[in-house]
């Protein structure tokens, strides 16, 4: 019984704080993306014309899912289909990593980031092999 109450408590905690964090994060992503929209990015490998110097820029983030969503995803895997909770988690991580890379590009005074590569990996996987946290790493060449 006690164990079940702890489970419910964690579930509630995950639900409320997880939602709050997610909403806050999306709002901040939206705002910062708007602020940095003057820096364009591309995945083209060839050097575009008209730039005089380059710098290597990177951005990374490790993000963790909350308890509620983890349980929801575990239940989802029983029936299959789209796991919404992981979709938004990975989207947040990817947008955050790209933004950090763009912020570095801005510090360098760049106006374009070429050959952007994004790498996603599940880091420090725990013993039970479930996806707890994942890392997204974005890198590219900032040009000015």
């Amino acid at each position: 019984m006690g164990g079940f109450l702890v489970f419910l408590f964690l579930l509630g905690l995950g639900f409320f704080f997880g939602r709050m964090n997610e909403r806050k994060h999306f709002a901040s992503l939206h705002q910062r993306e708007e602020d940095l929209s003057h820096i364009t990015i591309s995945t083209v490998k060839k050097l575009p014309e008209g730039y005089v110097s380059s710098a290597f820029v990177t951005g990374n983030v490790v993000i963790s899912i909350d308890y509620f969503k983890r349980i929801a995803a575990a239940l989802r895997t029983l029936v299959g289909g789209r796991i919404g909770s992981y979709t938004t988690l990975i989207e947040r991580a990817r947008r955050e990593a790209i933004l950090r890379m763009k912020e570095q590009a801005q510090e360098n005074g760049a106006s374009h980031v070429a050959n952007v590569r994004i790498e996603t990996s599940s880091v420090f996987q725990n013993a039970s092999q479930q996806l707890g946290s994942l890392e997204v790493y974005a890198y590219g060449t900032a040009l000015k």
Partner: protein, 107 residues
Amino acid sequence: MNDIQISNLETIPGTKIIKHLGMVQGNTVRAKHVGRDIMAGLKNIVGGELRGYTELLTDSRVECTRRMLEEAHERGANAVLNVRFSTSSVSAGASELFVYGTAVIVE
């Protein structure tokens, strides 16, 4: 060593490659830290960014990049082009970071 330019493009603007010196690489395997893991355990309940891990991986990438640059420096390169990163988890609780590129002399 700090004056070696890094790029993941095939050229550096305004320069010409005059010599290729072959592939250079750097790697590092990092394990997580118990203290950080406890904090991460709490974060696993409410979700969000695990700052300790973000920093850990950033530091590790700086280290493997430094190793790659050392190798490039030994060969007398002044730029490393077409740089790629790769991450793999080698065992539970440890990650390998690997970076590689082509050392060249540009002018």
